[in-house]
């Protein structure tokens, strides 16, 4: 199963990419652990997560094709 990861704002300074496809991750905690391993600077970053454009507050089970967005505090306007 594939999950699409999106990175926005200052997080792209850490990841250097705005999009990643990962395989076989069944919940958002696994995705987070994987990313913090791959990009240690993420551990110190403040960010929110959204699954399919809905903000999540806690661990969320993932389905194939889900889109997980990593977003630093908003600064529009």
């Amino acid at each position: 199963m594939q999950i699409e990861l999106l990175f926005f704002g200052s997080l792209t300074d850490v990841t250097t990419v705005s999009r990643l496809i990962v395989e076989n991750m069944t919940d958002t905690e696994l995705v987070k652990a994987y990313l913090e391993e791959r990009y240690p600077a993420l551990r110190a970053a403040k960010y929110f997560m959204a699954v399919n454009q809905q903000m999540i507050q806690q661990v969320h089970t993932l389905q194939p094709g889900d889109v997980v967005a990593f977003m630093p505090p908003f600064s529009g306007g």
């Binding site: 704002g9 959204a50 454009q53 967005a69 630093p72 505090p73 600064s75 529009g76 306007g77």
Partner: protein, 147 residues
């Protein structure tokens, strides 16, 4: 099933002052309107460590922003007696002195337009997934923070 209508709010680059005049003029035929409340965000030449802001470069999670904006719109129309609400936000580079946000709320009586406009500006700043990167005159950059 979501029934709310998704409308685009994003404009590439700065919002021209002329567009604001044109949008006001368009509302002259809506003779039930008595009040327009408008908010404009303009890019400021703030001093930062190492330089002065020359421009802001905006990026957004556009699909999510438009979805969220449609929700905010519905909420405000339910809460206030509004006639119209229009929002334009820049994407990409907007230079100092240029307009990056244009919020336009109209109603029969002034209180609804004024209160809804203020609430809408706060919602845009804190609920829409948009990010501003401040480009300094020494070509360094720093990520904008909303207060």
């Amino acid at each position: 099933m979501k029934e709310k209508k998704i409308r685009n709010i994003f404009t590439e680059g700065a919002i021209p002052a002329q567009q604001i005049a044109d949008d006001i003029q368009k509302h002259a035929t809506q003779t039930q309107i008595g009040a327009h409340s408008i908010f404009l965000g303009q890019v400021r030449a703030d001093r930062k460590d190492g330089g002065t802001v020359n421009a802001i470069e905006y990026t957004a999670y556009t699909e999510m922003a438009l979805e969220k904006m449609a929700e905010i719109r519905e909420t405000l129309f339910a809460k206030y007696a509004l006639t119209c609400m229009h929002v334009f936000h820049s994407l990409g580079r907007v230079a100092v002195g240029e307009i990056c946000l244009f919020v336009f709320v109209s109603s029969q009586h002034r209180k609804a337009a004024i209160d809804a406009c203020e609430e809408l500006v706060e919602a845009i700043k804190f609920q829409l997934p948009i990010w501003g990167k401040e480009i300094l005159d020494n070509e360094d950059s720093t990520w904008k923070e909303n207060k």
